[in-house]
Symmetry: C2
Subunit: 283 residues, 2 copies
């Protein structure tokens, strides 16, 4: 008898980076694995529920001595939708098990320390899902584009990142790295929308327009960063981001697969359930 | 002509504590202001949307130098549903603008410092909504029940809390204090449910049953704490908590009113919108 059902392609296979990366050759408007927005909307609630249950298992595991946790690293050009993905992905989970941090331009104090210093302080604790909106990757992207760090230092940073992430994995952290791949024209549309609405003016910065001239340099810096830090323990995923519904669903699925890979189980009661029930009923 | 529409009673008026508090006289199963679960479900999405917009305004305000923020303090007996309220209330907002912390039994390091030390470290920054699942109030509740702190020190703590919260308000923090009022019988049901389900066993602790014997002492400690720290700047609200749908909706509404009271407006663009549009269109 032939097998009637085929195993669906894991999202991690579908979206895992293939190095050397050539971003120009990758469609930012594609929606691999999903037919359309309606199909995504149908699929989304089930994934949210599965995520929520696994998050609770991860949290419960940590109360019984487990050290496992997840780190989701989100990178992308301005307006790529990092914040929106966080809102969609984290919004369906328990805020108590999420540790979110948006990295801004480094402060004076942060610049006085090695670049991983501020990142280490924000790592999720056991049982938590950490979400980095920007991350240590900014420290190899911006300096490369603006040539603000000596190249020997820059070279060393790629290696430090690989070592850092390997140490995290060894310590029980599942590292999920996502590049939200936005198109140049779609960014223009999104920036125009911010100018069109007075309640979105605060989100616009004149530097956003300046940075569009540096688009090829940033893409180049991303390609090098991904190539140099794409490891089997902590691989990169490239998520087409012109459609917000797609990028949100893709990251949800990637996170779900990451949690599933941990093979979590509910902790066993370390007390006599029947005896406790009897005690409780007597109160 | 007579006025046909009456102003609805604000939730803050409806649920504000009336001192001296007598918890035994207050129904934990009441649902003031809402007919039933269906009515709550109808009302909830609109409130979530309003909360989300105001949260964004609060965040935007902070980017333009505003210092305002909100601190929601959630207290209640075990299984009162603090975690569930956090999930419901925070789940519809942007995780980036939420700073959540669940206070556990103090560590050795925390005990070596004044009791407000660990609390100060967790205060929300400008533009954020801080949520405390338990708080500095644990430091006047547990020591009172277990007589683990000299009474002169305990007395001083109530005053320190009042001063501390007044300083917060002066610094731009809107302080919203909520006691989730759970019934003794409803707690028993909730604990039994945890014993009934093997995927909830990890949530049960034998100490939960021990603590039921101390219920009157804890209620007494809550009454004193509320009476002593119920100020015009930082009043207490007592939310009936036997119905989870009610307590979630009530806290959402209290938070909404708190945000509305800040009279937030969208920041004005500090750049020439037309000029930036022209620049952008040229890219």
């Amino acid at each position: 008898m032939s097998k009637h059902t085929s195993t669906p392609t894991p999202w991690s296979d579908r979206l895992r980076a293939v190095t050397p990366v050539d971003l120009a050759s990758l469609s930012s408007g594609a929606t691999p694995g999903v037919l359309d927005k309606e199909a995504a909307a149908t699929e989304s609630p089930g994934i949210a529920k599965a995520l929520s249950t696994l998050q609770e298992k991860l949290f419960a595991d940590s109360l019984f001595g487990g050290r496992r946790r997840v780190l989701l690293v989100l990178q992308g050009m301005d307006t790529a939708g990092k914040g929106g993905v966080v809102k969609r992905v984290a919004g369906t989970m328990d805020p108590q098990g999420i540790s979110h941090h948006a990295f801004k331009k480094p402060t004076e104090e942060e610049l006085a320390h090695p670049f991983l210093w501020r990142v280490e302080k924000r790592l999720p604790g056991p049982g938590s899902i950490g979400i980095f909106d920007r991350s240590h990757y900014e420290d190899v992207l911006v300096p490369r584009v603006h040539e603000s760090v000596p190249s020997v230092e820059l070279e060393s940073r790629y290696e430090q990142i690989v070592d850092f992430e390997r140490a995290l994995v060894d310590d029980g952290v599942a590292v999920l790295k996502v590049f939200l791949h936005l198109g140049f024209d779609e960014q223009k549309k999104r920036l125009l929308r911010r100018l069109d609405r007075s309640d979105k003016h605060w989100k616009f910065s004149t530097a956003d327009v300046d940075d569009r001239a540096l688009w090829p340099s940033f893409h180049d810096a991303y390609e090098v960063a991904i190539d140099r830090t794409h490891t089997s323990e902590a691989p990169w995923h490239i998520v087409p981001a012109d459609n917000k519904w797609y990028s949100a669903l893709a990251v949800q699925n990637l996170l779900l697969e990451t949690l599933q890979s941990l093979d979590l189980t509910w902790p066993t009661a370390d007390y006599d359930v029947a005896a406790q029930r009897a005690r409780l009923l007597a109160t």
